[in-house]
């Protein structure tokens, strides 16, 4: 394997986007979660919701900041590292990306400032409106970027002129075949990521706080645990269903990717559901295969004797690398079913009335904190590696998409990205951990209009660090 500009650019793109996607996957869900909390607070006046809002908005602010700075990198990398891709797709994807900027990024950014800093200045209703706009912005952003991504998977609504894709039918291009289900699958994946992160962190706070901790602190953690688990219990099954439908689309539009996902070498009916195998790309077979007869065909075609395409139907240089696709998919599905298990378990404990006290369950929920991130990442690996060797499926090979830049330049920037992201991510995690250790601070039962009169313990005010000396203000360093 030669470390040329192509390979290095692929590693750099994979690294920077995998790093980036962690944060949107979290903030898409968190923004809606915050809107829900604020809505409940305005509706009921129960200060518990305000306590929770003020806690989770801190987590949101850190995650969103990391998402923004790592996202700007992405918008330039299409050009810096993939200029032939930009040349080929620019007529179609350029406007779609631009729509994301003008409909989503500005919306998020403008109202984020008001959401974080402006409550006292704009009052309750406008502040709630700002929170909703931030949430809407995250969903719009996901809409356009997933449309662009789906177009690379299942391009439609275009013609090829002079070696470039040119748009013919915008509706078909934006709503290309794999887009609607991919969007649903991704957004729900982000929501579940947030649900399991919120549930896990709440469970952790319940586990570590002794029962003589302030009642309001425990009550807030119980409420967020319960809300997040209701969401998970209801929507994990929905997500599994959407994933299944999405799979039918892969079978129809990207049969080779599907064959790699299934580790299926020969076109066959009555395909087993392969739970485990070691795919061997040289011998074109699987070793140590463990499967359930016929069920694979049934899952994919909803008929036991359904025919599933095989990898050998296309030449070797048209196939994606098999084992990363095969295993990524299984890890994603495995996490999904573990999530289903947590949802059902929580339902059982609710009926018994021991949801907040059952230690094994709380421990399991805590362990599942990062599960959504894992599922999202491995889902992306499946989708993106499965598309290889193409970057625009069937039309542009990844090898033909790279920029005319030197391997040395890309190698140098790749090292810089790894060092910088490790540093920034390390500190980001550290500050998030500090936030979580401190947990939600109960707030007085007051509406925003009266806030100016009461003592506050606001987040990030410059003269009060997190480790916190409540009630004590540091002297200005003059």
């Amino acid at each position: 394997m030669e470390f040329d500009a192509l390979l290095l650019s692929r590693i750099q793109f994979a690294f920077t986007i995998a790093f980036h996607i962690i944060f949107p996957a979290f903030t898409i869900g968190l923004a809606s979660w915050l809107a829900a909390l604020e809505f409940n607070w305005l509706r009921t006046g129960n200060p518990l919701y305000r306590t929770l809002f003020r806690f989770w908005v801190k987590v949101f602010a850190v995650s969103f900041g990391l998402g923004v700075v790592s996202g700007i990198v992405m918008s330039y990398q299409f050009g810096t590292n993939w200029s032939r891709f930009s040349e080929f797709t620019g007529n179609v994807l350029g406007p779609i990306i631009a729509y994301e900027v003008i409909t989503a990024f500005f919306l998020e950014a403008a109202f984020l400032g008001i959401m974080l800093f402006g409550w006292e200045r704009v009052g309750d209703r406008l502040h709630f409106f700002a929170t909703c706009m931030v949430a809407l912005g995250t969903l719009l952003s996901a809409f356009w970027i997933l449309s662009a991504n789906s177009w690379m998977q299942t391009p439609d609504g275009f013609a090829i002129e002079n070696g470039k894709a040119v748009p013919v039918d915008w509706f078909k291009a934006v709503f290309n075949p794999s887009f609607p289900l991919r969007y649903a699958h991704m957004v729900l994946g982000c929501y579940l990521t947030t649900a399991f992160a919120v549930a896990g962190m709440s469970a952790w706070m319940l586990l570590r706080h002794p029962h003589d901790a302030p009642e309001t602190k425990l009550a807030a953690s119980r409420r967020s645990l319960s809300m997040a688990l209701w969401f998970a219990t209801i929507f994990v099954p929905v997500q599994i269903l959407i994933g299944d439908l999405h799979g039918l689309g892969v079978l129809k539009y990207q049969p080779t990717k599907l064959a790699a996902i299934e580790g299926n070498w020969d076109r066959m009916a009555n395909m087993p559901l392969r739970l485990f195998a070691i795919p061997d790309e040289v011998a074109e077979t699987n070793h140590y295969e463990v499967g359930i007869p016929k069920v694979g065909s049934w899952v994919l075609t909803h008929a036991f004797d359904g025919v599933v395409p095989g990898l050998k139907e296309v030449p070797r240089d048209e196939r994606p690398p098999v084992w990363p696709v095969f295993f990524s998919f299984r890890i994603m599905v495995g996490i999904g079913f573990a999530m289903l298990g947590i949802g059902l378990w929580s339902l059982y404990l609710r009926l018994k009335g021991t949801l907040f006290t059952n230690k094994p369950f709380l421990t399991a929920a805590m362990i599942m904190t990062p599960s959504g991130f894992g599922a999202v990442l491995f889902g992306w690996f499946t989708a993106e590696i499965g598309r290889q060797p193409y970057v625009v499926y069937g039309h542009l090979r990844t090898a033909d998409a790279v920029s005319p830049v030197s391997a040395q330049a890309v190698g140098a920037t790749l090292i810089i990205f790894i060092v910088v992201y490790a540093f920034v991510f390390g500190f980001g995690s550290y500050y998030l951990a500090k936030l979580l250790r401190r947990g939600p601070d109960p707030v007085e039962d007051i509406r925003g209009d009266d806030l100016g009169k009461k003592p506050k313990r606001p987040f990030s005010v410059p003269d009060e660090g997190l480790e916190g000396r409540p009630g004590h203000r540091a002297q200005p360093a003059e």
């Binding site: 990024f105 910088v420 410059p462």
Partner: protein, 349 residues
């Protein structure tokens, strides 16, 4: 238009012109709004006290994210409608663009991390300062490299990794630091009070002098680049139309200096913006209609008519709304930053 693009007719002629105008506005917006908040970062190191640094950072904390979004619009917009220019420029500017992005990462996270740090606060003070300084420097280098031009075959960049690096681009990099520093200082004059404001005034004067010297140096250097840009300025009758630009620039600079001396609060900032726009206009006159100097015009690099139209419909509808709520966000945080931040109107939540 001025003898350019004559081989294009109808929409194929007009759309690239409209888009060039729109993107010019987007880039100008970026340079102004992120210019002042990067400028605040450039001044950051010189601030005398922790309280000053807090107030300076707070003056931009609610809006920096929106400001930086114009940068994404600049990159995204270029990809959206002049994708050939995007495909040529980005690899040509590979090193300065990536380093600029890295610098922006450090200063961006500094906003969130600094207020959460205790012992590590100095780290994020430095991240904010050096991030702002280097992001500005590399943006200035990009500008210089742009004026120099790029080797290309009409579809892709054909030059070398370090073509961008010349004494001229180093000069433009340093010049932009002075320029953004001026914007940041006049912003602080407008947004702060007391000792900090007085200090910002003094810094504004220094950065103004440096900016004027830098503008003159860049202007005098341009004829030596061999791009024949000077003939456009000094040939008849152009010189009659263009001569007012340097004169107006000189007057604005003088007025700005007087305003700072006279203790005005708001006008210096807007005059500094005026100075930037005049420089920007001069640049536009020098380079039009090339968006990949020296040889590719906006028409050569534009998307298909269909593609430009689709994007234009969206911009026509959404951009006014964007301007409206962005202006509203600024309006919400109007006025001077409180000296005791946690007691006043700038508390989080």
């Amino acid at each position: 238009m001025f003898g350019f693009g004559t081989e294009y007719e109808g929409l194929a002629f007009w759309l690239p012109l409209i888009w060039a105008g729109l993107l010019a506005v987007a880039v100008a917006m970026y340079v102004i709004v992120d210019g002042f908040d990067l400028g605040v970062g450039i001044l950051f190191k010189g601030a005398h006290t922790e309280n000053w640094r807090d107030r300076m950072m707070f003056s931009v904390a609610p809006i920096w994210d929106g400001n930086e979004t114009w940068l994404i619009l600049g990159g995204g917009g270029l990809f959206a409608v002049f994708h050939v220019a995007y495909a040529v420029l980005m690899p040509a500017l590979y090193i300065p663009i990536i380093l600029m992005l890295i610098a922006l990462i450090f200063r961006g996270v500094a906003f969130e991390f600094r207020f959460k740090a205790e012992r590590s606060k100095f780290l994020w003070d430095n991240a904010f300062f050096f991030g702002s300084l280097l992001a500005t420097f590399f943006q200035g280098m990009v500008l210089g490299a742009f004026v120099q031009g790029f080797a290309n075959d009409g579809r892709q960049f054909t030059g070398g990794t370090f073509d961008f690096l010349t004494p001229f681009s180093v000069l433009t990099g340093i010049s932009l630091i002075f320029g953004y520093g001026l914007l940041g200082a006049t912003w602080c004059v407008m947004k702060t009070t007391g000792e900090l404001e007085i200090w910002a005034r003094r810094m504004a004067v220094r950065f103004l002098v440096a900016t004027i010297i830098a503008m003159a140096a860049v202007s005098l250097w341009v004829p030596f680049l061999g791009r024949q840009i000077e003939t456009r300025w000094f040939s008849w009758p152009n010189i009659a139309f263009l001569a007012p630009i340097p004169l107006v620039t000189a007057y604005v600079a003088y007025r700005l200096f007087r305003d700072l001396e006279e203790g005005r609060h708001y006008r210096p900032f807007f005059l500094a913006i005026g100075l930037f726009l005049l420089g920007y206009l001069g640049l536009g006159i020098s380079l039009f209609p090339y968006n990949v100097p020296p040889n590719l015009t906006i028409w050569d690099t534009a998307n298909t008519v269909n593609s430009q139209l689709f994007a234009l419909v969206g911009f026509a509808i959404v951009l006014p709304i964007t301007f409206a709520y962005t202006a509203y966000a600024y309006y919400v945080f109007r006025g001077k930053v409180a000296e005791e931040i946690s007691g006043g109107g700038y508390g989080y939540h």
